[in-house]
């Protein structure tokens, strides 16, 4: 069926036995979650404990294999990058491999997915314990793990796209897990449709890139490593103009705009909070939404050739970071505040790509995955304990849910970039990059850091320290364990040398940038403390003074309304109605005209059938005579 061959492009010397073992481990990382997902969905759909055990066990196996590869690679036993693949589809001129690419970038992302994922899977065991459809949930979660690993370990564009669509599907299924609730079903649809819009551009970009990728001697390709070597040559020789490549880059960037929820296609992410909270933590904060950023890092060799596209990426990212942070000001739902924060931090990462710093983006992605997963799991613990999501109805949680509050505080501090915690270091890298390349963007990013501190402070002071008395109980150990694990990661992720692992020698620490951002953060926290905890400033008068921007932000810049207006008035009334008219009049009309023509001809020909046998004989004889004369004439 498939022709199996292992293409191991080993740079250094690797022990052949280790290489064979590493290949098996690489396949195991990718395929174990798939096997578990199939097993759960086929035979375990009514066996809840089996589903839980299979999902957690499957991802834990992936994690162990990843750790094995990680240590082999970090100690230099295993030469990276190395690749194992099979030829999956081979058509004339289009060969699609399916495989696993192991290098420093994919290893760190795989660690994020399997490590944080394992914690969240375990947490789900507690969170979804009483859910009737928990088996479906764990099946989809396993399928999601396979899908995201397909993206992360992909060796080529097509495999990446397949994973891309699969994570979209899993996201849809998991947002709509409680599908009996209309808002959840609608949110799932919205996420899926918005992503389809973006992926349309993405697939066109992929196909276009494939179509221009041939050289005189070699066929077209979708393979990353081949393209990486070939594109600079093609551009230099003029075979592929930079302008064409820029357009391709913009089309490819459509994918991350949808999946990583960048402005203006960010609208699906806040609504995606309708799903179970561990899903929000894993998919809509730590991994899937970061896949867009990962894809940009993975293929940065393409984007660094096209500065104009990088500029677009920069401004889209900066706009997302700033606008989403402002949206966090006026939101009252615990999870949605975190969703806007995710949007804003994704904006930071995309901005870092636009500034030409994939390492900084990947660094922030990793630390963000730790502390944002932590924050969401903490929020999930609060919701699990109090059955309340409105921050104004919460309060006093530091007493009733001590451990949840403590870990949530650590996550919040990491998010705002409190000195010494992981978010501080990774955000600092991006700010340094911004100051080097683009001063206005640097100022905006620093302001955004202050705004992040403000809305996070508001969340903390109102929901956890507030006067309200939410009657909560602390969550079970199976949920607290992952919280502690992630809290630990959020603290240490800044010290384990992620930038160095990704190949950037450490630059001197920029005290000026760090101090400025810390000052902005301190200002943000202080203002929120004065407003919401000390109540030194009456919030009411401030709201009245800021009535106009307030309504603007509360309605989320009216973007949802614009889309609704567009769909209702332009798409339905003009485009769809036009298409319907075209179909009913032109297409159906043409079909009916052909039918009428056949009918009319039939009516005419019917007249020849007189029923008089001798008329038939006469016509027949005349025909035969005519044939004979023709025959004689030809001879």
């Amino acid at each position: 069926m498939v022709e199996a061959h292992s293409a191991a492009a080993a740079v250094g010397a690797t022990d052949p036995a280790l290489l064979a073992l590493a290949g098996k481990a690489a396949w195991a990382i990718l395929l174990t979650p798939l096997i578990c997902a199939v097993a759960i969905l086929l035979v375990g759909i009514h066996r809840k404990s089996f589903a839980m055990a299979a999902a957690v066990g499957g991802l834990a196996t992936s994690l162990i294999c990843t750790l094995f590869l990680f240590f082999q690679a970090s100690q230099g036993h295993l030469a990276v990058p190395f690749e194992v693949s099979v030829t999956w589809i081979s058509l004339g001129g289009l060969s699609i491999p399916f495989g696993v690419l192991i290098d420093n970038l994919s290893l760190i992302m795989t660690l994020v997915v399997t490590g944080i994922g394992s914690g969240i899977f375990l947490y789900s065991v507690g969170y979804m314990h009483d859910d009737a459809a928990a088996s479906r949930y764990f099946g989809m979660l396993s399928l999601f793990a396979f899908s995201i690993l397909t993206i992360v370990l992909s060796t080529n564009w097509i495999q990446l796209f397949i994973g891309w669509e699969l994570v979209g599907f899993c996201s849809y299924m998991l947002i709509g897990h409680w599908y009996a609730k209309p808002s959840a079903a609608a949110a799932g649809n919205k996420a899926f449709i918005v992503n389809r819009v973006a992926d349309f551009g993405f697939i066109i970009g992929i196909l276009w890139l494939w179509s221009v990728s041939s050289t005189a001697s070699d066929d077209r390709t979708v393979h990353f490593a081949t393209l990486m070597a070939r594109l600079p040559v093609l551009v230099e020789s003029g075979a592929v103009p930079v302008a064409t490549l820029s357009v391709i880059g913009l089309l490819l960037f459509c994918g991350p705009v949808g999946k990583s929820a960048q402005f203006p296609l960010h609208v699906w992410l806040p609504d995606a909070m309708e799903g179970p909270t561990p899903v929000s933590a894993l998919i809509h904060a730590a991994t899937m939404v970061a896949a867009g950023v990962y894809m940009l890092c993975r293929t940065f060799w393409l984007f660094e050739m096209i500065p104009s596209t990088l500029n677009v990426i920069l401004y889209v990212g900066a706009a997302t970071a700033f606008l989403a942070a402002a949206l966090g000001f006026a939101e009252n739902d615990l999870k949605r505040i975190l969703a806007f924060s995710t949007l804003s931090q994704l904006g930071y990462m995309v901005m870092a790509i636009g500034l030409g710093g994939p390492v900084a983006a990947m660094y922030h992605l990793t630390t963000h995955a730790c502390f944002k997963a932590l924050l969401f799991l903490g929020a999930g613990s609060v919701i699990h304990g109090t059955h309340e999501q409105n921050i104004w109805k919460l309060g006093g949680l530091t007493r009733s849910m001590r451990w949840t509050s403590l870990t949530f505080l650590i996550g919040s501090l990491a998010l705002i970039g409190f000195p010494g915690l992981s978010g501080f270091f990774s955000k600092d890298e991006i700010l340094v990059l911004a100051r080097e390349h683009n001063l206005p963007i640097y100022l905006l990013a620093t302001l955004t850091a202050g705004m992040t501190a403000f809305y996070t402070g508001r969340l903390w002071f109102v929901a956890f320290m507030g006067k309200g008395h939410a009657h909560g109980h602390e969550s079970p150990p199976v949920m607290l364990g992952p919280l502690f694990f992630l809290a630990g990661l959020s603290v240490v992720a800044g010290y384990i040398g992620i930038p160095a692992w990704l190949g950037e020698h450490h630059e001197a620490f920029h005290w000026d940038v760090a101090l400025t951002s810390t000052a902005a953060v301190a200002a943000g926290v202080t203002i929120s403390w004065l407003l919401y905890s000390k109540r030194a400033i009456a919030a009411g008068s401030l709201v009245r003074a800021l009535a106009l921007p307030q309504s603007f932000v509360e309605n989320r810049y009216y973007i949802d309304d614009i889309y609704t207006w567009y769909v209702q008035n332009i798409q339905q009334k003009i485009i769809a109605a036009g298409c319907a008219w075209f179909e009913q009049n032109i297409i159906i009309g043409a079909v009916n005209a052909v039918a009428a023509l056949a009918q009319g001809l039939g009516r005419l020909l019917r007249l020849f059938q007189t029923g008089v046998v001798q008329t038939y004989v006469l016509v027949f004889v005349a025909g035969v005579l005519w044939l004979i004369t023709r025959y004689l004439a030809v001879r």
Binding site: L607, T610, G611, V613
Partner: protein, 100 residues
């Protein structure tokens, strides 16, 4: 000396008489008889050429034709009898209900 040409001419004459009869007569029985005439014109030609070329292929065909003609007459006469019973006529022009 009777050559093959004589037979051909005789056969053609018979065929044309039969054809004219089929086209002009209105009585179903006469039409059937004329069809037989045309078939036998063909038979005559087959036999003549069989003799001229010294093999039996033509004769063999003739036996087929005679057999088929017998079957054809059986069906034709049955139709004629039914026509007489149902419509009380043997006029071919009177039976033209099989039309548009």
């Amino acid at each position: 000396m009777v050559t093959v040409t004589h037979y051909v001419v005789a056969s053609a004459a018979l065929f044309c008489i039969g054809l004219a009869g089929v086209m002009s007569r209105r009585n179903v029985l006469m039409i059937l008889l004329c069809v037989e005439l045309m078939l036998n014109a063909a038979n005559l030609l087959f036999v003549a050429y069989s003799k001229a070329w010294g093999n039996l292929h033509g004769q063999m065909i003739v036996f087929f034709v005679i057999t088929v003609a017998a079957a054809e007459v059986t069906v034709g006469l049955a139709i004629a009898i039914l026509m007489m019973r149902q419509r009380n006529t043997l006029d071919a022009d009177a039976v033209q209900s099989m039309k548009w």
